[in-house]
């Protein structure tokens, strides 16, 4: 088991409404649990505000759960020291929604892809950057260019190259294709599936689009208002949804 999320809850304190009342609390993720095996893909679907990104940020150890714990490859992420967490980071990487926002506009593509390697003090940075570029279908010369010289789909390939250059065991993809044209979406999804076979990646694939998730996931989890409505093998959830909300998602996806 590469990832285990157990009874995780995350609350946000909202701005105080009145001087003497306690500030309202929003439960962004409510008692969520999931497990992910090596090489498998788990899809998380749910409407906007259902807590998908919050869950992803906790899995990436960007923020801590208020309750519950998250184990990656046997390590409790929130019990690790700063140094141990940094040494573990190359093993779980993330790709983001906005292909225009996930690359620093002031840095060359090669510099950005090499960033995690520099932190690891890797010795063969150039070779590994070239290899990662080739794996996502880009050319060696592209390393010297800046992000604005690429299309949205190409940028997402660059972001994927940066995420796999450390040879991670887990990839968290938060709405990784939502901002792309439908034809480009298919290319990126195919690329992700190829890389998954090639590298044995486990993937946490987040989307509000059930059709996209259904096409690539082994496991499926449906969220709404922070709560997990249902979860299980993708085939099973899709064939016999137990919750009316899942049924409405299926109808909306035209299944």
């Amino acid at each position: 088991m590469i990832l285990e999320v157990r009874n995780v809850t995350r609350r946000y304190r909202l701005p105080r409404q009145a001087l003497l009342s306690a500030p309202p609390v929003l439960v962004a993720v409510d008692n969520a649990s999931l497990t992910l095996e090596r090489g498998e893909t788990l899809g998380i679907v749910g409407e906007s505000g259902s807590g998908k990104s919050t869950l992803a940020r906790m899995v990436m150890a960007f923020e801590r759960p208020d309750e519950g714990n998250i184990r990656f490859d046997g390590h409790d992420l929130n019990a690790l020291s700063t140094g141990d967490l940094r040494r573990l980071r190359p093993k779980f990487q993330m790709i983001f929604q906005d292909p225009y926002g996930s690359l620093d506009p002031r840095r060359t593509v090669g510099w950005s892809i090499a960033e995690p390697l520099r932190v690891m003090a890797s010795t063969d940075i150039t070779r590994r950057v070239d290899e990662a570029l080739a794996q996502v279908g880009l050319r060696q010369q592209d390393a010297a260019k800046y992000p604005h010289e690429f299309s949205g789909g190409q940028r997402q390939r660059i972001a994927i190259a940066r995420a796999i250059v450390t040879r991670p065991a887990l990839l968290v993809a938060d709405e990784a294709v939502s901002a792309l044209d439908v034809s480009v979406q298919a290319q990126i999804l195919n690329l992700l599936m190829d890389l998954q076979d090639e590298l044995g990646l486990a993937m946490l694939f987040i989307s509000h689009d059930l059709a996209v998730v259904a096409s690539i996931c082994d496991q499926l989890m449906v969220m709404q208002h922070g709560r997990t409505l249902e979860s299980g093998p993708a085939q099973q959830v899709l064939a016999a949804p137990s919750h009316p909300y899942t049924k409405s998602l299926l109808t909306a996806a035209g299944a």
Binding site: M60, F62, T82, R86, R87, R89, P90, F92, Q93, M94, F96, Q97, D98, G101, S102, L103, D104, P105, R106, R107, S112, E115, P116, V119, M120, A159, R162, A163, T166
Partner: protein, 271 residues
């Protein structure tokens, strides 16, 4: 792309002032310290382009040497105050929480503190000097830059490439250096240009009060204060340094505004 008018006018004025300041390092028409009492209040002619003052010193030479002093003080003060302020703003944004609150509250206090008062205080304690004038002007720049840098940095911190850098294992100081600073450079430089104008005015005010550069080193502010008693006799002695101050302050102010217009991402996106 069409360049805004304020940018063009500002650039021309700044080029003139900087040109005069640079030229005065190599050459001035006359020695600006040389007294020639027999030739006092000379009218403009081929030798003394703008005439001479009450001690017979050449006005053009004094004005260009004054430009050099103003520029030097403004540059030193803005560089010093700007670096410290930017570093504090970056730090506040990087650490957040009570550290950020503390830094920004201190900046608020510094902001509310009148620069001239602070300079007078420094002069009272350490004596009037050019260095103290630089320190006083630098000091009032710290909160200005801390605010600008922090606001811009907080925006950059929400970007996904910063999250990617965290996933790569960079700590917040490395992220501040590698990603935040390069991406807040534009607003900081714009602010520096505007603060340059403020610094020129502050330097003029300080040396007008005798708290800046000491004689014989000429400054616009002191020329103005010396000319004050001669307002009816020789008003031109006050007019020329006054015009220089206005040109320099307006030049850097307009240049800063113009730079902001062309670098502000909101405007760029609309274009």
């Amino acid at each position: 792309m069409k360049l805004p008018v304020n940018l063009l006018i500002g650039a021309v004025l700044v080029a003139l002032v900087l040109g005069a300041a640079a030229l005065s390092l190599l050459w001035t028409p006359h020695d600006f310290t040389q007294l020639n009492v027999r030739n006092k209040f000379a009218a403009p002619d081929a030798t003394y382009w703008l005439g001479t003052d009450q001690l017979g010193r050449d006005l053009v030479s004094q004005l260009t040497a004054g430009a050099r002093n103003s520029m030097a003080v403004a540059l030193a003060a803005v560089l010093l105050g700007g670096s410290i302020g930017t570093a504090l703003g970056l730090l506040a944004a990087a650490i957040g929480g009570w550290v950020e609150d503390l830094v920004m509250r201190i900046a608020d206090i510094g902001f509310a503190f009148p620069a001239l008062l602070f300079a007078i205080m420094l002069a009272a304690v350490f004596g009037p000097s050019l260095t103290n004038a630089v320190l006083a002007i630098a000091f009032i720049n710290i909160p200005v830059f801390a605010r600008v840098a922090r606001a811009a940095a907080n925006q950059v911190w929400t970007r996904e490439y910063v999250a990617a850098a965290r996933a790569a294992g960079l700590n917040r100081f490395a992220i501040s250096k590698d990603h935040i600073l390069p991406n807040i450079a534009a607003p900081v430089i714009v602010q520096a240009t505007i603060e340059f104008a403020v610094a020129i005015l502050a330097e003029a005010a300080l040396s007008y009060l005798g708290l800046g550069a000491q004689p014989p080193s000429p400054t616009w502010g002191r020329m103005l204060s010396e000319a004050q008693t001669l307002m009816y006799q020789a008003p031109q002695l006050a007019v020329y340094p006054g015009l220089c101050i206005v040109a320099a302050v307006m030049g850097f102010g307009l240049l800063g505004d113009g730079l902001r217009d062309v670098t502000d991402p909101r405007l760029v996106r609309e274009r």
